[in-house]
Symmetry: C2
Subunit: 398 residues, 2 copies
């Protein structure tokens, strides 16, 4: 019998997508499903960006440079400078989404059985990239009670072994929405310098900060050789389908290694590089309206959640996610029940069970992640559903 690889077996299925068949079944029954389960923004992609693609006039859709078009890298360098991140077009590789930037980082910096530390809960796909690279993800716990603040330095020290090669931090965080403070980023700096580690910085949600400002890992002085920025335009400009990200570092050895992986796959997609290039020329106040909208939604959803009996939702400082602790026995069962057995005013809500974001068994069983990618009216309707559901769910704990 021909068999696939152990790695193919070990690879986790998407924890978010496994509920999709239940949502489809609900829709077939005529039930309206409010999707708060995935980070697909509903905000329109800027017209100037879409037009850059619509007005493209090449005769041959050629490979771009393996590191991405130079004209785009120059523009992106301007964008970073506006964010006080000073990198040249030669210090970046344009990638196929932030996903590929993460994969390149794992591949270029870590070997089979090396360990990467990550505050838990964390972006579930880190597990998938780790399995591809043969790398071990070592979680250290952060807690909903503190709003998912950075775990104490002692917890990092305890987790570090001779196999530890890197820490990965997503700031603002997916799934928690937590915005790491300047002081917390300094703590990370101390750890990576003391223990000679890479700091992988996933800053997909950089532009969406609602309390205070963003401290990029690239702002930390003295970590130039440690930091690898894994970036994407997906959320920034509502351009998820473009699949354009960036691997950015001042560590020449890591950049050169990543470049060899980039050459093997030839080039990143051409079209959305045009889109990304146009995006840098958007007015400086472009993000204001988007941020105001997301902040309004955040305020709405957090207020509604905390007004429900037995529910706790810390106020997230950034991104467009909130984590909530619910009075339920099991979030996987609850999220499935919402789709399979519940409706209110002929509608229901789809949430992401938090267990998919924890790798420590048993953690997150009474938590869910909510992506506030719907307008406030829809959020209110979704919260109406959730409130009633929590009174009816057979596995409720109060």
């Amino acid at each position: 019998m021909l068999s696939i690889s152990h790695r193919g077996h070990a690879m986790p299925a998407s924890p978010i997508r496994k509920l999709v068949p239940f949502a489809e079944a609900a829709k077939r029954k005529g039930v309206k499903v409010y999707h708060l389960n995935i980070g697909q923004p509903d905000i329109e992609t800027p017209k100037a960006c879409l037009d850059a693609v619509r007005n493209s006039d090449m005769k041959v859709l050629e490979y771009s440079h393996s590191a991405g078009n130079e004209s785009y890298r120059k523009k992106l360098s301007e964008y970073y400078a506006k964010n006080d991140i000073h990198v040249s077009p030669q210090e970046m590789i344009i990638t196929t989404g932030g996903s590929e930037a993460i994969l390149f980082g794992f591949m270029a910096c870590l070997d089979q059985d090396d360990e990467v530390i990550v505050p838990e809960p964390f972006y579930a796909n880190y597990n998938g990239f780790a399995i591809q690279a043969g790398v071990r993800v070592v979680p250290i716990g952060s807690d909903i009670e503190t709003g998912f603040a950075l775990p104490p330095i002692a917890d990092f020290e305890k987790a570090i072994t001779p196999k530890t090669k890197a820490i990965i931090v997503c700031n603002p965080n997916n799934p928690t929405g937590y915005l790491y403070s300047a002081a917390e980023m300094e703590t990370l700096k101390e750890i990576v310098i003391k223990h000679n580690l890479f700091l992988f910085a996933d800053e997909a949600y950089r532009e969406f900060c609602y309390e205070g400002s963003h401290t990029s890992a690239m702002h930390l002085k003295g970590t130039e050789q440690n930091v690898i920025l894994m970036d994407t335009i997906s959320k920034r400009y509502s351009a998820c389908g473009g699949r354009i990200g960036a691997f950015v570092t001042k560590n020449k050895e890591a950049l050169d290694a990543a470049m060899k992986f980039a050459q093997a796959r030839l080039s990143p997609p051409y079209y959305a590089q045009l889109l990304g290039e146009a995006a840098v020329d958007l007015p400086d106040d472009y993000f204001n309206a988007t941020k105001a909208e997301y902040k309004l939604r955040r305020d709405t959803i957090v207020k509604r959640l905390n007004a429900m009996n037995g529910v706790f939702c810390p106020n997230p400082g950034g991104a467009f996610y909130a984590m909530a602790k619910l009075p339920i026995d099991d979030c996987d069962k609850f999220c499935q029940w919402l789709l399979e057995s519940f409706s209110y005013n002929n509608a229901t809500v789809m949430l992401a069970p938090a267990t998919g974001f924890y790798s420590t068994p048993g953690r997150g069983k009474d938590e869910v992640r909510l992506a506030y990618v719907l307008n406030t009216e829809a959020i209110h309707q979704a919260m109406d559903c959730l409130e009633v559901a929590l009174q009816q769910y057979p596995g409720r704990t109060i």
Copy 2:
């Protein structure tokens, strides 16, 4: 000292791109460089395909399905049916170029230290994907004297070990242009069935066959569980920059495993799926003009090469590559010398040294690959340069 991974060190730099700085220096000196070194077609991308992207009217550039848009998979299924390949939209995953289809195949089917057999010379980037997957590429030699026909079955048998999990074959072949016959494909079928191996079929150049017809691995009866088709629209429609390929198989276990890798990277690029979808509706005779043009170029370049003193170029049956044996000491030195120290009528030619396509040390030292991606007039001028160069090159052997 913070160090990158061993895998990052082991990863090969692109053998084709390492000459780029010398080409750039030649151009700065005002020398015209005829690029026969890379497989970037000059044939125009069909206007209907480019228009499909230009006329796109989405408001939000969303993620597509992780397996690619269903509408595109349906269309692609129609395309395959026209080529007597019968696969449903559920038996394929749209990938980011053929590159990702190869990577998914290696990741889903092979484990660390597993072996994949490949006729040599072979597409150099297989090495890069193998290093990412921790897999060993085992070459078995084919020879320019036979036009790079499939090595005898005994050579495969000799190379098979308990670690062997797959054979990879590129048909028509890059770099040799060789078109495997129906009988040779039947031989491969025998081997993979007898030894219970996957057959990875890279058919990027399927549409470009000039002598006889194409036998797809998907045409072989009884290998449904063995065959994984790794496809791309890059060469077919001159759409290399779109980064759209496909992983196609009737092996459900392999497909499900690949799907988990596809979910981890979220989705393939959106725009070029529109392009690929439009391509399936091109008139049935669309490829005729392109094939006629490539055939004319092939006939031109092969004739010119074989007319040169000491040069041998077998007639390739497909793709848009030719391999030639030259009367030289070292193809790497020669290709660099062409750019650095030679010009004729203020022009020179850039070729791919064949050593990059061999992994057996010493093989291919007097061979080069020529991609006939220029029109016949340019090919004649490039061949004029090469003919003179072979008379002047200090390392000539006749």
